[in-house]
């Protein structure tokens, strides 16, 4: 029983470490927080049922890829695209600047799905371009290039408003 408990404890630690970014990434795919949260829970519950991760080379990339699969499978099952949910907060903004949070959300929504995924995975998921390439089944160069375009577009979208953004 000890190895099972240790496995569950390790999974809980992983959840505490990565769940905020995983849910954020799920949000960019599912379009709504409850769907993203369900997908993340689904992934971790399966891990707990299996008693651990098993032989996984890159745990973080595996978790993001698993959340992606869970959400895409669910979307296929429902056979409909859910629009991005505009109301719920995606971030805890610095200095409780909720206007900036809303501005960031709006800018992220202006990106294409691919650009938004790469951006979220790199900035908040802290995945390297090689890891992103694994998750999204791309080449690392494509991931990096997509990220550069997305970042420029995001900055334009955010700084077109009055927020200080990159100059702060």
């Amino acid at each position: 029983m000890q190895p099972i408990r240790a496995g569950i404890a390790a999974i809980e630690t992983l959840y505490r470490q990565h769940s905020p970014a995983l849910v954020l990434y799920g949000l960019t795919l599912a379009g709504e927080r409850s769907g993203a949260q369900d997908a993340v829970h689904q992934v971790f519950l399966k891990l707990i049922e299996r008693g651990g991760l098993g032989p996984v080379d890159d745990v973080k990339a595996y978790l993001f890829a698993s959340v992606r699969h869970a959400i895409l499978n669910d979307a296929h099952r429902r056979e409909r695209q859910v629009p991005l949910e505009p109301e719920s907060a995606w971030f805890d903004p610095p200095d409780r600047d909720y206007a900036a949070e809303m501005n960031l959300r709006r800018a992220l929504r202006s990106l294409s799905d691919d650009q938004r995924q790469v951006t979220v995975l790199h900035i908040w998921g802290e995945l390297t371009f090689a890891q992103i390439a694994d998750v999204l089944d791309l080449s690392p160069n494509t991931a990096a290039s997509r990220y550069r375009y997305a970042l420029a577009k995001l900055r334009d979208a955010m700084c077109a408003r009055e927020e200080p953004c990159a100059n702060s």
Partner: protein, 131 residues
Amino acid sequence: MPIPDDERFERYLKQFRPAAAEPLLGQQGRTVPRRWVFAFAAAAALAVLAASVVAIRLHRRPASSAGAESAAGVQQLTSVPPLTLGRANDLLIHAPSFKSAIDQLPFQPERRQVPEGAQSALAVLSQEEKL
């Protein structure tokens, strides 16, 4: 080569922390113990079942040995020499009455097959009584 503005913008973006996820234990913490409770209950039921089977077997052993003893007693009783005409005559001579002579006859659990053409002592005696 990273562009300094990009790095600054990335730092700015990283100040926004992804909103906290719902606690996994809030949902799963109850589920896992429930499963364990079920597993423990199943294990306890199996243990009780196994203990019952062992107890029944242990209880049966003395019974079977007692049965063996009683079987031996029966065998001892049945090993009494078979009733012959001579023994029946002796019983009738020495017994105070016909009834007491019959009462002293050993009980035969198995009906012995009388060879064809022959008669059992009891049959002969009962015929004599009728006459």
